[in-house]
Symmetry: C2
Subunit: 342 residues, 2 copies
């Protein structure tokens, strides 16, 4: 029954399937390069609600409901909801869970939360504790900006290394039935802190965690970069993506040919002025539910390593002079009609 391989990785016994996904994004994300892959693009980033916080909840709620509908299931069929977001006390997720008749497990890993929720949902289904589970996260630019940085009305300048919180929510339904992309390996990350203090340079703060998890994943599984069609980090942005490539090369792994960062790809910085790229736990959620999942279904990617990355500081810890700890979790998703699975 031991499913552990290597130091930090588990190999799932029943390869839980991602039976359906939904991605919902705001207008800015809908104008970005990945536009065609999103299920729903809002015209109004408040989504008709009174506050940005309520708007964020409404995105997650609809992402979940739509995902359950796509899988031709009902709320009562879902045994666990694994959800998280960036707002203090996870209110986006909790207020969604209040509207749903599903047992709820709240998770926080900052922008790594999509991989965290997907890890937990996959293991819980694989272990026989659930027939179906939902993994979801959300973030909202305006709710995050005023909580973490400045009042929106202040119009603060942005540094070149700063990132732009994605408005969006992605939801995945995990179960054991059907022919869908499968979760095969999970590498759970350790917290790494290389002493970065600048909350406008989260990419640099998170890169060491991404490097550590990807390196450990290769060592534990025996995979090489060329075994993957795509390795996608969560939201390191351009700065963090460059650092990650460089550091992994020093460890003997050249991932450049198969590597992208969700945060770098979701916006076009030239046109959209998003500096280093997108961030927020909605970022890797909508890119994995949209671009990655849809390309897997169409056979473009057969094996993908999703590595959502999180910066684990708070405004209080930054004010107190603390450095920024980072974390990253890696998940192998495979979809191959013709066999050849390792």
């Amino acid at each position: 029954m031991d499913k552990r391989i290597g130091l930090q990785t588990v190999k799932l016994e029943h390869s839980p399937k991602i039976m359906a996904t939904t991605s919902i994004v705001g207008p800015k994300e809908g104008n970005g390069p990945l536009s065609e892959y999103f299920d729903i693009i809002l015209k109004d980033d408040k989504n008709g609600m009174d506050s940005y916080e309520q708007a964020e909840s409404s995105l997650m709620y609809h992402a979940i409901k739509e995902t359950i509908r796509k899988a031709k299931l009902e709320e009562k069929d879902i045994n666990y909801l694994f959800a998280g977001d960036l707002l203090n006390q996870l209110t986006s997720s909790s207020f969604v869970a209040r509207e749903l008749d599903i047992p709820f497990v709240g998770l926080y890993g900052a922008c790594s939360t999509m991989a965290e929720s997907l890890s937990m949902a996959s293991m819980i289904v694989d272990g026989g504790f659930a027939k179906y589970a939902i993994a979801t996260t959300s973030s909202h630019f305006s709710a995050a900006e005023r909580q973490f940085r400045f009042p929106l009305e202040f119009g603060s300048q942005r540094s070149e290394t700063s990132q732009w919180t994605v408005t969006g929510s992605g939801s995945m339904l995990i179960g054991l039935k059907g022919n869908f992309p499968e979760i095969t390996y999970i590498t759970t990350g350790k917290v790494k802190d290389y002493g970065i203090k600048d909350a406008n340079n989260m990419g640099a703060a998170m890169a060491p965690a991404a490097v550590d998890t990807i390196y450990r994943h290769f060592e534990d599984t025996g995979f090489k970069p060329s075994d993957y069609d795509l390795i996608a980090t969560g939201d390191l942005g351009r700065v963090g993506r460059e650092l990650t490539e460089k550091l992994l090369l020093e460890y003997g792994y050249d991932i450049k040919g198969v590597y992208m960062d969700c945060g770098e790809e979701i916006f076009d910085n030239q046109v959209q002025k998003t500096s280093s790229g997108g961030s927020g736990c909605g970022c890797s959620a909508v890119v994995s539910c949209g671009y990655i999942y849809k390309n897997m279904i169409q056979g473009k990617f057969k094996r993908v390593l999703l590595v959502s990355t999180g910066a684990l500081m708070s405004p209080t810890s930054s004010f107190q002079g603390e450095t920024i700890p980072g974390i990253a979790h890696g998940i192998t998703i495979e979809y191959n009609l013709g066999g050849e699975k390792k």
Copy 2:
């Protein structure tokens, strides 16, 4: 392989064991009625640190290290750390994880987090994904008070229904070896909101969730109140405990003879002026790691239902006029040298 029974409960296949626990509390908790059951009582609630936030992290760090030591294991033997706390962005837990060489899963369920982390650790070990896992939470009166309510220097008056955040951390080590109290059933709760808006009456806000989870646990497992030597809710306080007893009686379950609330028992309100009782996710953590675990080891309790309860609001959601959603998770812990396990 299906471990689900009833609607919201799982029966664990391998009965993961709580191989060791550690409870660390502040001076006020150390002066309370459960004093003799705590492993470490601080003389200084800052624990020699510069801030209350750092102090909270230091409590959790020592609770984890001591628990690993008691089990005669090392950090590298632990496959997962499931941890959570009340501070924004879970900084107490993240900053602890930074100091430990253990893969980290951050959880947030407000004061229900001890049962949440213990649920996840138990299922992950039971499912073969980990040999050993740590479940832990912490809270700190002074860090919570200034984040959730008022500056400490303000000296705000407290209402009769208000609760006092426990300064403390509890840690449990879960594995499959040895003769120790075992986790046998887990009932994961749904979010319930009966429209309470008063953040000084969290017991009333959380009681419906506790009632729902306990009721569901009885229905799913077939247990009756008399099958338990103790049913312990997390931190409903006196007000919430009275409501829970009354509401469950309406559902046909009289739990009065075996029921206590951790928040009500940890302080002596007459002497310590704590109004309705203790709260904070350290509350059910230190009471379960201390009083409950030690009484189980000594044979006083053979079967206990631990039901940590959480109020899932934030200051922002309260300012925006939102009501307070509650959640509760139930865990059956059994220890019986002579058999008779259901």
